[in-house]
Subunit: 199 residues, 2 copies
DNA sequence: AGCAATAGATAGAACGTTCATTCTAACGTT
DNA sequence: AACGTTAGAATGAACGTTCTATCTATTGCT
């Protein structure tokens, strides 16, 4: 039976994600993970070589999930793309306010700076997302500098998550229109009338 | 002698910051911190009640430093402000690429989600920075929605740091002009001609 | 069908290490 | 001699990991 094994692994990963959010990668012990997974400590080692492997699996799973969320936009026809993307800003902000996701992402980001294996997994997924965005902007919207526009948008969305942690009471109703303005700037070819500004 | 004491404390904080960047708040042990501070483990406890206090001191110091960096703009006269701010984007991006600062900030951000004391320190400093920005935009530039514009800029800058970790090879030469465009959008009262977009 | 053998699932104790913290004894300066 | 300063051993708890034992279910042979 292979289903059972997969289910158990998922059980461990869910428990681990919980603990990692609550205590951090290094603050969460195997004992806590085991207890939350309703499993013995030793048994976890039948599914994962060590704690690092659990962290790596979590990073992989979480990054894949994030990538899938972006992939939705690929199905949108080109003349609706800008409209759909700007319309989804509200739920985007809401999702960034989800502490679970945000903290896990921060933990991953910090860990990637000291663990090359994590960095590798993370960058692979980021490249995926980046290429998806880039090709959308270039092929669907015929935009120049698609790479830079992608980086701008990803910076903004990524920053939103940290911002909400720093200032949870922030007034979304006045911020969201501003974000939409930036998105229009990034999603429409208004490059030329701007070179006047760059001194 | 009070100078000596202050110097020793700084010695511990510097060593601790180093270790926290390299191993994380919970991955760094007192033994490592002591060794890097050229000090005995036990002696650190004469300056700090416990490890948490060291973390708190680091968070405080680092947040204050970040706030001071922003405070420079307060001295700039109002008719040069937009110019100066957009001109400093390049060094801003460079500073965000400094792994030391970025990782420490991520660690702080993640820790603030699970340690209320850290969250408190961090939010106090963020409020300081936010108010500084807000009053600058409102009083010096006479901008409406100064709060929202502040949040947008802080999101963007904060996101830039995470973005560079995710994609260090990112092409800054094409991204920076885009960032400057966003800054002009956020620093100039072009609110009206945009309501057309918000459906 | 019925027994033997095997493989995987599971729990929990045991290991050596490292952790944060405390304690004690020695040091250097006055 | 006294006092603040320092080093490092001592402590017990917690860590990640390994080991062993028991249990369950499937497979192969007759």
């Amino acid at each position: 039976m292979d289903k059972r094994r997969a289910a158990r692994i998922d059980q461990v990963l869910n428990a681990a994600a919980d603990c990692f959010v609550e205590f951090g990668f290094h603050g969460a012990g195997m004992a806590k993970i085991a207890k939350r997974a309703s499993m013995s400590v030793g048994h976890i080692y039948h599914y994962f070589e060590n704690k690092e492997a659990i962290i790596a699996a979590i990073v992989d799973r979480e990054s894949e999930l994030a990538a899938e969320r972006f992939a939705e936009f690929e199905e949108v026809p080109r003349d609706e793309l800008v409209h759909v993307m700007t319309e989804r800003v509200d739920e985007m902000v809401d999702s960034k306010a989800d502490a679970f996701q945000s903290v896990l992402n921060l933990e991953i980001l910090a860990e990637s700076q000291r663990n090359p294996q994590i960095a590798c997994i993370m960058r692979q997924h980021d490249e995926e997302v980046r290429e998806l965005f880039r090709s959308m902007l270039k092929d669907k919207l015929n935009l120049p500098d698609a790479e830079a526009r992608t980086e701008l948008l990803l910076s903004l969305f990524g920053g939103l998550a940290s911002r909400i942690i720093r200032h949870p009471e922030l007034d979304r109703h006045t911020l969201i229109p501003l974000i939409k303005q930036v998105m229009h700037l990034a999603l429409e070819p208004c490059d030329k009338d701007d070179k006047r500004k760059s001194e």
